[in-house]
Subunit: 135 residues, 2 copies
Amino acid sequence: MLSKKTKYGLKALAYLAQQEGKTPVQIAEIAKEENISQKFLESILLSLRRNGFLGSKKGKGGGYYLIKEPKDIPMTTVMRVLEGPIAMVPCVSLNFYESCDDCPDEATCSVHKLMLQVRDSALDVYRNNTLADLL
Amino acid sequence: MLSKKTKYGLKALAYLAQQEGKTPVQIAEIAKEENISQKFLESILLSLRRNGFLGSKKGKGGGYYLIKEPKDIPMTTVMRVLEGPIAMVPCVSLNFYESCDDCPDEATCSVHKLMLQVRDSALDVYRNNTLADLL
DNA sequence: TAATAATCTACTAAAATAGTAGGGTAAACG
DNA sequence: CGTTTACCCTACTATTTTAGTAGATTATTA
């Protein structure tokens, strides 16, 4: 299941991408328009800023804005920041690899084999979608 | 992330599929060979039996066994029983559909659009794999 | 009937999720 | 320069899910 954090994060990014210029949008506006708890959204936007997706401006007329063009933001990087690993098991993860403590041999593991295919197919989708494609 | 329940369930099914005849295999044997907590595995096998994948026999010489041929067990049905919905959001689920309480319109929802593709790609993998393919 | 092995009910510890509460801090505007 | 605006940050909490445990029961077979 997709976490609310990821869902809200995606919606917020899409909302910002739809904006005309690069004028900052306030948290309160996004929260209201997208039906998201404002406080929760605050922490999500903050993490998106820390990870280089968003810029922010304080004070009157402040808010958040996209740093890059929507078409230059691939879904792979967004999903990894918001949701974490794209793989369903750590032993097939490219960016978050970990070996399983059960399972003596990855090469012969039935789960490994299947989940490798699932990861590749999901990766394929995320690689072929940028933020611009969500609008 | 794939739950341990699903992981263990898949491993147990694969173990049973590797068996020569249709002689029942005891929970204890599967648990030991696959490094799974026996009590936890008990409940998993029980649910696989209730859902028509396994048969069981009590008493001496008893245990669990596959009811169908591995090649006739598609991963879609296994995953749905063990892990639940294949979709990452209920609003794109074929078998577990639910509308989102935020999100006024699915047709224009950016998350919906993306997750539909992810579901289709995952479904594609599961449909093209049977239990026999995991061995 | 004694041993074996699945079945069933109920409880629990730990982790993740989805928030809340309450200030602090920087920038803009009058 | 001071007030307002709006992001920034820390800490706490309720709920749900996950991953089990414990212990008694029931059915089978030798």
